[in-house]
């Protein structure tokens, strides 16, 4: 462990992994509740266009990806609102467009851009720069602050949008906000976990936690703990085994799901017998 901390880039990667392990399940729990588990996936694809664009224009990847993903969030909410029946097809088009645009722009970019796209797809230990940490930290702080203030309203909208609207909650605003929060998580996670797998850190810890919990709050807390554990263990493992961190983190998270699911089956059976 001390060996890892001797490397500056690993210290930065660990901080970045901790940040995404914390906020991804925090937003994921709302997405799963609203049955939008794949929204994060879509945001990742859209953000890829931002990364490709950054390569092409020579701009900084994080702000460019952030701008593209937030734009995508608004577009997704607009499509979801406008086309009720074919909504998922429209979203699929947007997602494919996002990934195709990303690869295309990166290929057009001068130099080694195309090969370094891999680092953004599956995560990398060495790409977190000192300046990035400040930006990632600020974004995380923003996400936590928004959830602290508006989390209850997001929860009510996820329970039932119509019922929430009758309570005076602004449903469309909250839905858009949820998509924007997912976009922020995607950008925070793209360095370490990668854009193709970052949404797994939003969803898998939540799916694991809900095997053993009985309330929304407990699910959120346990999912955050599992998310943190998975991203830190996965990162350390990938350092020693020399594989990309994204897949390692996701496999650790999936292992936690398998373990909790195995525990939950007998627990649930006993609980059912007790009542």
């Amino acid at each position: 462990m001390t060996a890892i901390l001797d490397f500056d880039f690993m210290r930065r990667a660990l901080v970045a992994a901790a940040l995404v392990g914390l906020i991804a399940p925090l937003i994921g729990v709302f997405l799963v509740q609203r049955r939008l588990a794949l929204l994060g996936d879509g945001m990742g694809h859209v953000a890829l266009t931002g990364v490709g664009l950054a390569f092409l224009l020579g701009t900084a990847p994080i702000p460019t990806a952030m701008a593209t993903a937030v734009l995508g969030a608004f577009l997704i909410e607009f499509i979801r609102y406008r086309s009720r029946t074919a909504g998922d097809v429209a979203l699929a088009l947007l997602f494919y467009g996002g990934i195709a645009g990303g690869v295309l722009f990166a290929s057009l970019a001068p130099g080694r851009a195309s090969s370094s796209l891999n680092a953004y797809l599956f995560g990398s230990l060495s790409t977190v720069a000192q300046g990035d940490l400040l930006a990632l930290g600020a974004l995380c702080l923003g996400v936590v602050a928004v959830v602290a203030v508006l989390g209850r309203e997001l929860f009510a909208v996820s329970l039932d949008p119509d019922v929430a609207a009758v309570q005076g909650i602004r449903v469309r605003l909250m839905s858009t906000l949820m998509a924007v929060l997912a976009a922020v998580v995607v950008v925070v996670g793209m360095r370490v976990v990668g854009l193709l797998l970052v949404s797994a850190i939003m969803i898998v810890p939540v799916a694991a936690a809900q095997q053993v919990t009985r309330s929304f709050r407990a699910t959120a807390v346990l999912a955050i703990i599992l998310g943190l554990l998975a991203s830190l263990t996965g990162l350390v493992t990938s350092f020693y085994v020399e594989v990309p961190p994204g897949p390692t983190i996701v496999l650790v998270a999936l292992a936690s799901f398998a373990i909790l699911a195995a525990i939950a089956v007998p627990v649930r059976r006993r609980r059912r017998e007790a009542t």
């Binding site: 309203e153 009758v166 309570q167 909650i169 009985r214 309330s215």
Partner: protein
Amino acid sequence: MTHEHHRHDEPDAEVVVDVDRLCVEFDGEHVLEDVDLSVRAGEFVALLGPNGSGKTTLVRTILGLQPYDHGHVRLFGAPLSRFGSWHRVALVPQRLPGASSIPVSVWETVMSGLISPKRRWRWFSRAERAAATEALHDVGLWSRRHDRLDNLSGGQQRRVLIARALASGADLLVMDEPTAGVDAEHVGRLTSLLSQLHDRGVTIIVVTHELTGITDLVTHAVVLGPDQRRSVVYDGPPPIPVDLSDHVHHHESPSGEAPNAVGLGT
């Protein structure tokens, strides 16, 4: 309960819902045509009609969930566009979709009725938590507060959703098919709960296919017309005329859809 006690038989009781010549169109087709409806405080209204008669659209419009083309809708005397006392109104759905995808406890469900932009910058107060506690005692499910909502029976879940509405202090409850999918044993508990609320002066509007279980409670029946007219064909005290009750019961599933599937949310 802090609100005033109104009797339904008082003709001068406050008009809670006032719908005047309401027209709603979907893609140029009339879903509701010239609908008038007046509900006074303390009434127990059954809104009846077959599928496609527009009863769901009517309540969605009253609740501000559905834009309308002509006519007027007033809640507690205020035009819908300027109505701000949403804490007085509660929609009681058949189920909460979000409570089956993530575990949500009974307590969390009831507290969710208190969420509002007005409470955005503060924690729930002691009084608000006490209201939720009282509401759960009222529906007889306080002992189940730590359970997952979807581990309860259909009838118990319905009572939790009523407690949710009560905790928010609402005195107008709009209920979607309150007895659908509830087994006979629990229908009894549910109707006695509704009867208690009615005695307290809570205004209740029930959207339903059938009056089974609640016939004795209804003080005001409204039947929406056949598919061609989509207007009110009966508005008065129960029982509804025999020819209309045939119409309500026999034509309920033109699309072969199960009655339970007629949610307000779709």
